[in-house]
């Protein structure tokens, strides 16, 4: 920090500061930060952080000269769009690269996003100048005084829905703005230090939860089992003292399509867990009909919200056994109802429970809206690691779980049938060819050779 002040005093550095619009970030997310300086100016040498280390507020302060900020940025964006795989012409960071190559630079791949949020404050404190919010047009009109330190903030354009402009176009646009600003600074021969970063990352790499076996990354087994999370017991509905319905799910996500986007809410924390007692009033069960009603309050801005599972048990003649099906799943919200059919996929013999990794109305749907006009068309349900039993419950444990995943999928069966047919054909053909023999009935090695007359 002392070195910084000296530097600013001596060369009258002008700082450029670009800031992007919008919201606060979660404190545990990381954003990258890159800083560089114009010719004739060197960044104070600093130890590069070790790989994987997240730079905190204090460390950033000590690293920092000035900052350029922009739209959400991730390290992956530099890798993806920076032309690092030999395709230099596809790089969207042409101007940035040119600037970095021409001068000394500092690269911090992982800075805590709460730190970058405070960059402008840090710089203000260091330079004792109030930030000026600008864009390239206003910069062209501004006469920069090389002897006075100034803090310029540029908000790089970022369009509000990620689906309107692809990340590549956004970064390319940002790079153009950077190029314009740098060329203006160069034209006015003003020495500067620039910082380019973001308030929050464009893609968040989720940390693998220690209790779950991560298939995407390898780690020491010891590090995974730091806090073994106990699984919650299943939800029980008791009628007349004995348990009648059992339910378990890892996630119970309901989403409603409102004003152009899906709003999600996970009901599992309010349903399962130590000391969680969800309201089950309205549930009932008997020999042939089970109904589990989960009552919630204040879900997705609805005062009363109910999730209802309706199951029926019937005898089927052809298989001569009882099966249960989850015929309907209702969502009741402030008097309105959304109904999903589930009987096509959610079935099991009545003695067993039904378990499925994913019961949803969106991906590989097992639940479909009751009709075209039903409110369910605006809703999506997504139940993860779902297990339910509505009949034949003995105690508080599930019976054998009939899984929704079959041994072979229909696709595999189709492939097997077709392959089998072709193998049969091949076998038959091979057999025929292999038993072709030349006729040797009239071979007479001692007799005269056959004479074929030339003319008829």
């Amino acid at each position: 920090m002392a070195a910084l002040r000296t530097v600013s005093g001596n060369t009258g550095m002008i700082s450029l500061f670009l800031l992007c619009v919008i919201a606060a970030a979660k404190s545990d997310e990381q954003v990258p930060l890159v800083a560089w300086a114009s010719d004739g100016f060197a960044l104070s040498p600093v130890n590069a952080p070790s790989a994987g280390h997240t730079v905190s507020v204090e460390e950033l302060e000590s690293h920092l000269n000035t900052a350029l900020r922009t739209a959400p940025l991730s390290v992956d964006d530099f890798t993806l769009y920076g032309g690092v795989f030999g395709n230099k012409q596809d790089s969207v960071f042409q101007n940035l690269e040119a600037a970095l190559l021409s001068s000394s630079s500092l690269w911090l791949p992982s800075v805590s996003s709460s730190a970058t949020a405070l960059v402008s404050t840090l710089l203000q404190n260091q330079i004792d100048a109030a930030p000026l919010y600008m864009n390239p047009d206003t910069l062209a009109q501004l006469r920069l005084n090389a002897s006075v330190a100034a803090l310029l903030v540029f908000r790089l354009p970022y369009s509000g829905g990620a689906d309107m402009m692809s990340t590549k176009e956004v970064l390319s646009g940002n790079d153009e703005v950077i190029g314009q600003v740098l060329s203006i600074m160069k034209a006015q021969s003003v020495p500067y230090t620039a910082v380019f970063t973001a308030l929050w990352p464009s893609r968040v790499i989720e940390e693998a939860s220690p209790a779950v076996h991560s298939v995407w990354s390898r780690s020491l087994l010891q590090s995974r089992r730091e806090e073994p999370t106990a699984t919650n017991p299943p939800l029980e509905f008791k009628e007349k003292g004995s348990t009648c319905i059992l339910l378990w799910a890892e996630k119970l996500v309901v989403s409603q399509y409102r004003s152009g986007k899906w709003e999600r809410h996970d009901l599992a924390p309010k349903t399962f867990g130590e000391g969680v007692e969800p309201n089950l009033s309205g549930s009932s069960c008997n020999e042939t009909h089970s109904r589990l009603v989960l009552n919630y309050e204040d879900v997705l801005n609805y005062r009363s919200f109910k999730l209802i599972f309706v199951m029926n048990r019937r005898h089927y003649k052809v298989s001569a056994r009882h099966w249960f099906t989850m015929d309907l799943v209702h969502l009741e919200y402030d008097g309105k109802t959304a109904t999903f059919n589930g009987s096509r996929y959610i079935y099991a013999p009545a003695e067993y429970s039904y378990r499925c990794e994913s019961v949803s109305s969106s991906r590989y749907p097992q639940l479909s809206p009751h009709s075209d006009k039903d409110n369910a068309n605006d809703w999506q349900i997504s139940l993860h690691d779902f297990q339910i039993q509505g009949f034949n419950v003995a105690g508080k444990d599930f019976s054998y779980a009939s899984d929704c995943a079959s041994f072979f999928t229909p696709g595999i069966w189709m492939g097997l049938v077709t392959s089998l047919l072709m193998v049969l054909v091949l076998t038959y053909g091979l057999h025929m060819i292999m038993q072709l023999r030349t006729m040797d009935r009239f071979d007479d090695p001692k007799g005269p050779a056959i004479s074929v007359p030339q003319t008829e």
């Binding site: 298989s319 096509r344 009939s402 229909p410 057999h431 038993q435």
Partner: protein, 226 residues
Amino acid sequence: MLVEWMMNGHAILYTGVTLAFWATILIVGICYTIFDLGFRFDVAWFLTETSPFMWANLGIGLAISLSVVGAAWGIYVTGSSIIGGGVKAPRIKTKNLVSIIFCEAVAIYGIIMAIVISNLAENFTGTTPETIGEKNYQAGYSMFGAGLTVGFSNLFCGICVGIVGSGAALADAQNASLFVKILIVEIFGSAIGLFGVIVAILQASRLGDIAKKNFNDIMFHIVRYR
């Protein structure tokens, strides 16, 4: 004799494969029964979950391929006899080509039916049995049935005509007056292939009147340009 038969390499291979297949089926069946997982064996699930397109295309494939097998078998049998007999009795060569043409007709029936059936295959929307609808399942199974019908009929018709044609060629080589009589037998043999085509058309025609129109057009074409 059994030992001799067993010594044949092919027989060992086939018995081995068959034994392995049935042993697998038996063991899997026993395991499912012991663990009360018999409900997992679900033929209806198989028939409704597999795509009707698979059945339709299997039908089309079988229609043409089995017909061609029959025609090829017949031609090979007849052809060898004609060529062999023609060595000593060259006069039989030209007349006996009629037998080859009867066999070829069987292949033509096959390709006509394959084209007719494939023209009936259309895209459909729907992923569940309810949305796919009975009509589409019926279409898939009808096409499969039609293809199978015409395929197997033509297969055996072709073999039949071929063997009879071979006999005709050899008899003709001995005695020219026998040829016409044997030709009548060949015509009966050829008719059974036609039966297969007719039944297949009936099966496929439930899928629309388009089938009949196509068939008429194509038959007209064939008759005119033969």
